[in-house]
Amino acid sequence: MDNALLRIEHLHKAYGPHVVLEDLDLTVDRGEVVVVIGPSGCGKSTLLRCVNALEDIQGGRVLLDGESVSRQAKDVARLRQKIGMVFQSYDLFPHKTILENVLLAPMKVQKRPRAEAEAEAMELLDRVGLADRRDDYPRQLSGGQKQRVAIVRALIMHPEILLLDEITAALDPEMVHEVLQVVLGLAKSGSTMLIVTHEMAFARAIADRVVFLEGGHIVEESREPKAFFDKPATERARQFLRTFEY
């Protein structure tokens, strides 16, 4: 049986003459954690944004559960409910409290009753250690705390897949750990995730599969992350990983 949840086929993305992703194929299976790494500007963030139809694409298609996700689709809002996304910058809604941030989408988009949504919100906030901050505003939280709330806000929608776009890149080093712990917990509980990151140790720990992207192409792909990080097959990947050593 086909276990693929997300299927990206011949994806072509360009800004004018500048090609970012070219004829890219990638499949993510149910319960799989795929980590995309690569140098800045290689198109890895753009890839995630295309999966969520935040970008127009110039060719190919993105299929979630066999359904095409695109900006033009009338039901793009419905499909996006199945795709959770956490961004690099803290993107909580500043005019709402932590609890309201988490409750907004389940109540307005999924029309769930408040009592039920709130119970789940509190359970999730508790799991990331922030239940006592429910009535605070985002500006009162640290970067790491805000990112954990952003993860909860995505999780409460029960997404089939979670996209994490360099979620620790804007954080102080001591806050990176607390956020990545939460993500590791999600991976253990079987969540399907497509992750873009610069944290190589984290990528090595969490990945079921590593994808090395450069110049809009997949240069190397490995189902043995430890082997990949110790001894990548391609010269390009070797050079890239060397830039993380001192």
Binding site: N52, L54, A77, R78, R80, Q81, I83, G84, M85, F87, S89, D91, F93, P94, H95, L104, A105, K108, V109, Q110, A150, R153, A154, M157
Partner: protein
Amino acid sequence: MRSLGLDVLFKGKNFLRLLGGLWVAVRISLISVVISIALGLVMGMLMTGKNRVLKAVFRVYLEIVRIMPQMVLLFVVYFGTTRVFGWDLSPEASAIAVFSFWGTAEMGDLVRGALIGIPRIQYESAEALGMTTAQVYLQVILPQAVRRLIPLSINLITRMIKTTSLVMMIGMVEVLKVAQQIIEANRKASPNAAFGLFAVVLLMYFAICWPISRLASYLEKRWA
């Protein structure tokens, strides 16, 4: 010390007449502000849109409003257009037209500023949660824009109230004009009334504008 001329203030119905004049000033500002906010919201949203011709037109409009003294605009509308186009505009209608023309431009620019000040990622993270375009605006973008707008538009109201003193130049009897009439009528009996009455007018403007301006800074702090 000489008399301050305050005796005239409570002679006959003078004080009530002053309050009536103040109401005229406040009424013109309020009506103009409501029109300005409604039209300004539309203009601000269009200014953040993609239509370049529309944007250019709004820029020129805004520059004209900023450069032209409001009094000249009042004269053009009340004395000028009534002759050229042959329509019958009351001074109050002319005043509201000019104040709305001015206020719409300023509000439009404030709305534009408030909207572009909201980071792209706010739209995107709302979309990523599966919200429709209407929900993105209603739940996420407009509440933030309005919070930035309210203090600024309140300041516009106080500026309008102060500027209504100009409408006496096109024959409207607002608070300043009432004061002038009272002073004229009592020139012989109470020659110092000019001081007392104009001072009272000043206090009246203050009594109206100060609470409004306090409210603006309170909201600014609360929603910062």
